[in-house]
Subunit: 134 residues, 2 copies
DNA sequence: CAGTATCCCCAAAGATACTG
DNA sequence: CAGTATCTTTGGGGATACTG
C-alpha cells in the first residue's frame, strides 16, 4: 500500500466513499468474497454449527483453510465461537448480530447480481467474440 | 472445485441465494474486491480516463496489473474501452451503464461498512485481547 | 501511448501429520 | 472433536524489457 490513509480527503462519495473508505470497504469485501467465506456464512445462516459438521457440509475444504476462514470471520465480528469444555471438546460457530445484519446489504448486492447476471453474461460473450474476432 | 453445482437445491434464500447463486455472487464480489478494482472503478466514477492517466492517479500499480484489472472489468461489462486510432494511440476507459448501476448496491454495502466500522473494530480489538489473554 | 511478454517472488491454498 | 504445525504447491502481483 502506498501513501494510504488519505483521511483528510473530502470524500466526494461518487463511488461509495473516499479513498480511505475505499480501502476499508475493499478489505471488508475481500473478507466475504474469498473462496470460502460466503459459503461458510451461508451455512451458518441456517443455524449454529460445529467445526466438523461445517466441514462435512462444505465437503472439500481443508481443516486449515476452514479454521482460518472462521478465525477471520470471528476477528471481524461476523461469527461467534463458543467452546463447551466437555470430552470430546465441542465448539459451536454461529453468526453474530453483526454478521446477520451484514447479510442485509450483501443480500441487496446478491439480488442485483442475480437480476443482472444475463447482462453480465452478455458482456462476457461479447468480450470473447471481440477477442476471437480480432 | 469439487462436486459443486447443487442446482437441484431449493434455495432457502436465508443468505442471499442458493448455492449456485452463492458461487456466482462470490465471483462477482471477488471481481471488485481484489486489490485494485474498487480503486479503478472509483477513478472512473469521476469520468472517463486514459490508461496512463489512470496509472498516474493510482500511483503504484504496475502496467500489467492495471491492464488485467481493466480487462476483467471490461469482460464483466463494468467498463468500456474505446480506441481512437490516432498517433500516438489513445484509449479511453469509462464506466458502462451496468458499471454505474452496479455502484448502487456497492454503495449500500459501503454505507453499511462505514456505519458499522466501529463495531467491527471493537470486535477486532476484543479478538486480539482474547488471543493475547489466552 | 498503450499495451504484451517474461521472469521472479511471496503469500495463501492445500495435503498431511500430529496434539490437547 | 477441534484444531495447530509443517511442508509443498500455485498463481497473482510486481519489475523489467520490448512492440505497434
Amino acid at each position: 500500500m502506498p501513501t494510504p490513509d488519505n483521511h483528510t480527503e473530502t470524500a466526494p462519495a461518487c463511488d461509495g466513499g473516499g479513498s480511505a473508505a475505499c480501502e476499508h470497504i475493499s478489505r471488508t469485501l475481500a473478507r466475504i468474497s474469498d473462496k470460502w467465506s460466503m459459503l461458510v456464512v451461508r451455512m451458518l445462516g441456517r443455524g449454529p454449527c460445529r467445526f466438523n459438521a461445517l466441514r462435512r457440509e462444505i465437503g472439500e475444504i481443508s481443516q486449515k483453510v476452514l479454521a482460518s476462514t472462521l478465525r477471520d470471520l470471528e476477528e471481524h465480528g461476523f461469527v461467534s465461537r463458543t467452546v463447551t469444555p466437555v470430552t470430546p471438546p465441542q465448539v459451536e460457530y454461529a453468526l453474530t448480530d453483526l454478521g446477520r445484519e451484514f447479510l442485509d446489504p450483501v443480500r441487496t448486492l446478491a439480488e442485483w447480481v442475480m437480476a443482472n447476471s444475463s447482462r453480465m453474461e452478455a458482456a462476457r460473450v461479447a468480450y470473447a467474440a471481440r477477442r476471437a474476432g480480432n
